[in-house]
């Protein structure tokens, strides 16, 4: 069945959509602040109740000359706010967890990073604070109060996020879709639909990520890592060269694990998603699609891990070790 999926990826704008809070969407929200105050931006795409998961939140100051909060650790204190239909009169305290700063890949960072959070320029280090595992006991809206110590003084910011009753996107425990993604040279596969960096009629970058379809990869019985990304057209503020990171892992793990890149866009200008990408990140019933995503699939064909939006090189390498060990 051919399904042409056209979608406006306005949802890639972090904080652009409020989400349903009733199980319909988990698009993050961001609070507003006066110039110079801290802003927390939820970078997680698809939070769900009743399961352990990673929550990632970015911190920065407000204003045109905004600076990032980078390095060290933060603390996330969650509280349940109810649903759109039944908001809580008072926030119900939820889990409080420690979060560590993880770097968007592809940066030139020093080997030893500062141990404490600090205000930083993007060239010093772009990243998010990640807490894992986090478990929300019910669906609805949740508030996160993010606290860091800056120059010996505790500073906080709040953000609100929607937590769905169950994941919208393919999640750990789900069987991996047997996707027949486009490969270079296929008659109906313009090079740009295989990787948005490809020139018309030219070769596709990272060929090691385009030798197998996901269906073929799963049939090998080896674990598989699938990165769904658009190297050119990513508009998330946390965009990094995640495809390059996966390609680097593919080069050192050839023969032990399969690595597949699926380009998000069939045609960016016409708003057409690749069907293969849609099978993973834009399932029926989803309100929008977000990228990038990285999925790890075990030898049994079941998804064992997923990373939304930001995945550090260390996280991806650890995931490969866990899958191949």
């Amino acid at each position: 069945m051919k399904r042409t999926v056209a979608v406006l990826l306005g949802a890639l704008v972090l904080g652009a959509c409020g989400g349903g809070g009733d199980g319909s969407s988990s698009a993050p929200t961001t609070t507003t602040a006066k110039a110079g105050e801290l802003i927390a931006q939820v970078a997680s795409y698809d939070l769900a109740a009743g399961r352990d998961q990673r929550v990632i939140i970015g911190l920065q100051t407000s204003g045109d000359d905004a600076r990032l909060v980078s390095f060290g650790t933060a603390r996330f204190a969650f509280a349940y706010l109810g649903t759109k239909q039944a908001p809580s009169t008072t926030p119900v305290p939820g889990p409080t967890v420690d979060a560590r700063w993880i770097a968007v890949p592809g940066q030139q960072l020093p080997t030893t990073l500062p141990a404490e959070p600090r205000l930083a320029e993007p060239s010093d280090g772009i990243g998010v604070y990640a807490a894992e595992p986090v478990r929300f006991d019910r669906a609805g809206y949740w508030r996160a109060v993010v606290t860091v110590s800056l120059d010996g003084r505790e500073r906080s910011a709040e953000a609100t996020m929607a937590v769905n009753a169950k994941p919208v996107v393919v999640a750990p425990g789900d069987p991996a879709p047997r996707t027949e993604n486009l490969l270079p040279g296929a008659p109906d596969a313009p090079a740009k639909a295989v990787d948005s960096r490809a020139e018309d009629g030219g070769s596709v970058p990272d060929p090691e990520l385009h030798t197998l379809t996901v269906a073929q990869a799963l049939a090998t019985g080896r674990p598989t890592m699938v990165v769904i990304s658009t190297p050119v057209f990513c508009v998330s503020r946390f965009c990094g060269p995640i495809t390059d990171s996966v390609a680097a892992l593919a080069r050192v793990n050839a023969g032990r694990m399969n690595f597949v890149h699926i380009e998000v866009w069939r045609d960016f200008e016409k708003r057409q998603l690749n069907k293969a990408a849609a099978e993973w990140i834009y399932p029926p019933g989803a309100e929008d699609a977000n990228e990038p995503w990285v999925f790890v699939i075990g030898r049994d064909g079941v998804v064992s891990r997923r990373f939304d939006n930001v995945a550090s090189d260390t996280e991806l390498a650890d995931a490969v070790r866990a899958a191949t060990g």
Partner: protein
Amino acid sequence: MAAVLVLVTAGILIARSRHDDAPTSGRASSAYVRAAVGLCDAQAAAAAGDAASARSAFFNFSHQALHDLARRLEDGHRDEAARLLLAKQAVEADLARAAPADVARDLGPLLDATRRGVVRVEGTRLAPCSNEGVTP
């Protein structure tokens, strides 16, 4: 040094914007002026062979605003969004390879795409870089 260069160029850009005889009106948002300043400074640094300063100027002053601009262009000007993001990706790839000559070259199309994009979303025109001269 990069910061000083940015401040100096910013003054020039804003001043020129006020007197620019463009077929548009108003002055671009400060974020986009700042982004253009960053691109101009990155280009100047790259042309001088200073890849590190080019990288700092690009990421500290331009990168986020270009993402914001691309998102705004996606509604109604998707061809311009594509042009902007393609040009941005080329520069980022050059910066990752620390290839200043390529950075300087590829910043030209990115500056063009940025200016076109700002015209589309704001109806305002960004001024040229200080080393580009002003068209009478």
